[in-house]
């Protein structure tokens, strides 16, 4: 779980602080992915294959 925070932190260190701009573009999708879809990541980590919302609907 704390890996998600580590990823965000390292991603933030990679945006705007490197000489190569490709660093920004590889960090941005990871950061926004985690920020927008955190529950999906968390449920995957907990071993569930399906999104909690979908689980409730089914």
């Amino acid at each position: 779980m704390e890996d998600l925070d580590t990823l965000i932190e390292i991603g933030e260190n990679m945006t705007g602080t490197t000489i190569c701009v490709l660093s920004d573009s590889c960090a941005v999708p990871v950061i926004s992915g985690i920020k927008k879809f955190r529950p999906e990541f968390e449920s995957l980590i907990h071993g569930r294959r399906v999104h909690p919302v979908l689980e409730a609907v089914a």
């Binding site: 580590t6 390292i10 933030e12 260190n13 990679m14 705007g16 602080t17 490197t18 000489i19």
Partner: protein, 522 residues
């Protein structure tokens, strides 16, 4: 030259005014703030690759690399804000990902910028769980060894070889996390100035083979000095461990050697540690040289000199102070003083004006000439049959004992007792260059001070003290208690050195009057 426009800005709340075009990093130095940096070096072109010098500039959206950002009027720079410190902490974490934790066996430890800045503002732990990249140690030729695992790819060494030495040997091979410093095919770091890459390297990636495993940085004692290996007079730091010279490092001086010294000067220090020294004053009694007290020896020396004409064969490695006192002994007897100089090949450093390893391989050729000594190719040719021959630290190499014995009276004032001078009536031991204080005059007429780096062996005394005592017994009324007092007398009696003193010279030196400015071809 037109005055450069000055720009005022605020760094960490301190107002500074610097010339237009200065980098924020240099301006911060003026304000007394050291911004952490790796790739930036004042003697090299700016690269801006390490990202360690990131600072916050007000009204700028992104953090700015202070080495590559010029100052602007009214700019407000913050170095220690949370955002800037966090960014630098991140950079340090990235740099340390593949950096081994081998400080205990690393030669750079104690003078390592990666160590210093990590201690200053890095993370206390590592979040990196994977295996570190590994590359084997490589011999770069010359005096340089490369440990790729420790390299942080600041490219200082690459830029030195390309832009200062003008001999492209190094490059950044591979890219991404596989990148390392490589040599071009078939080339070696054999350039006569290549050893500087070891000093430039901020970490322990480039190491001197000569200094390898010799000492930890904190065990060394340092003395500001002048490189004695040629007439260029590069400013150096002599570093000793347990009173033995362990290495020589350049000491920055914009007017002489910038930040560099050549490999010849860097590695030519073993003679300073010679063990076969003349350690006690000796006087000939009953046909052989016997060890004796200083007082007796000085009086015996004065007895030998008496009112006879002297011929001095001096060493151009003697300080101005020693040569001046010798010239007083010469003048009172109407004698002559000569010296000879070892010759080598000239090796310029292309990227710096008027900096080279000079042909004359002795420190004080210009000073000796200024103080009345004549350069000669044929030593002892001016020796008359009734002269007192004073061998003043010349090693008499290539001179036969019979040539020396031509003089009825021989006196040695030196660091060693040469075989050819076994016929000496008196031998007075003096300290060598690393063991005393004094000044040298370089080929552009710049007078520069050097300090004592280690003690002299046995009863040997500084050359100026021995010669001052001798002059005292001969009836000279001036007493000298410090080398600065001898220098003051030189300044009084020589119009070229008028107004100079140890205080005015400082540790960077000053040119004598009428000296050729730097850049004028000789």
């Amino acid at each position: 030259m037109a005055e450069r426009k000055m720009v005022s800005l605020t760094i960490e709340g301190r107002q500074v005014s610097v010339p237009e075009g200065t980098s924020i990093l240099e301006a911060a130095k003026v304000a007394g703030i050291l911004i952490p940096h790796y790739c930036y070096h004042p003697g090299l072109p700016v690269a801006g690759v390490c990202r360690m010098c990131l600072v916050e500039v007000e009204k700028a959206p992104k953090l700015a690399p202070s080495c590559a950002t010029s100052v602007a009027e009214g700019q407000v720079v913050r170095v220690h804000t949370e955002r800037a410190v966090e960014a630098r902490k991140g950079v340090l974490e990235f740099l340390l990902i593949n950096h081994p934790l081998d400080c205990p066996i690393c030669d750079q430890s104690g003078e390592c910028e990666l160590q210093d800045y990590t201690f200053q503002e890095g993370r206390e732990d590592s979040r990196y769980r994977e295996a570190k990249r590994f590359n084997p140690v490589e011999d770069f030729g010359g005096d340089v060894m490369y440990v790729p695992n420790r390299c942080i790819l600041c490219t200082r060494c690459v830029r030195f070889m390309d832009d200062v030495a003008h001999d492209s040997v190094l490059n950044v091979s591979e890219r991404g996390d596989r990148a390392l410093i490589g040599k071009f095919e078939g080339k070696d770091l054999t350039h006569p100035w290549a050893g500087n890459v070891v000093d430039l390297c901020p970490v322990g990636a480039l190491l001197s083979k000569d200094f390898l495993n010799k000492s930890r940085a904190w065990e060394l004692d340092r003395a500001a000095s002048i490189c004695p290996s040629c007439t260029q007079g590069c400013n150096v730091m002599i570093e000793t461990r347990d009173m033995v010279v362990a290495r020589i490092k350049p000491r920055p001086n914009e007017a002489v050697n910038k930040f560099f010294i050549c490999d010849y000067g860097r590695l030519n220090y073993r003679w300073m540690n010679r063990q076969d020294r003349l350690e006690h004053p000796m006087v000939r009694t009953g046909g052989s040289l016997k060890t004796i007290d200083w007082d007796v020896a000085i009086h015996a020396a004065a007895g030998v000199l008496d009112d006879r004409r002297v011929y001095v064969l001096a060493s151009p490695m003697l300080s101005n102070e020693a040569l001046h006192l010798l010239s007083k002994i010469i003048r009172r007897s109407g004698g002559v003083g000569e010296f000879r100089v070892a010759i080598g090949e000239e090796a310029p450093l292309a990227g710096v004006e008027d900096l080279a390893l000079r042909r004359d391989r002795a420190a004080n050729v210009y000073g000796a000439e200024l103080l009345g000594f004549a350069r000669t190719e044929k030593p002892l040719s001016g020796l008359r049959d009734d002269d007192v021959l004073i061998v003043a630290d010349d090693d008499l190499e290539g001179i036969d004992a019979s040539a020396v014995e031509r003089a009825p009276h021989v006196m040695v004032i030196g660091t060693t007792l040469p075989d050819a001078a076994q016929s000496a009536a008196v031998a007075l031991p003096i300290a060598n260059f690393a063991e005393e204080e004094g000044t040298f005059t370089n080929l552009r007429g710049r007078v520069q001070r050097f300090l004592q780096a280690k003690p002299s062996p046995g009863l040997a005394r500084p050359s100026w003290l021995v010669l001052g005592d001798l002059l005292g017994v001969l009836g000279d009324q001036t007493a000298f208690f410090l080398p600065s007092e001898v220098f003051a007398e030189i300044a009084r009696t020589h119009p070229e050195l008028k107004g100079l003193s140890y205080d005015r010279l400082g540790m960077k030196g000053l040119p004598v009057l009428g000296a050729q400015p730097v850049g004028v071809a000789s």
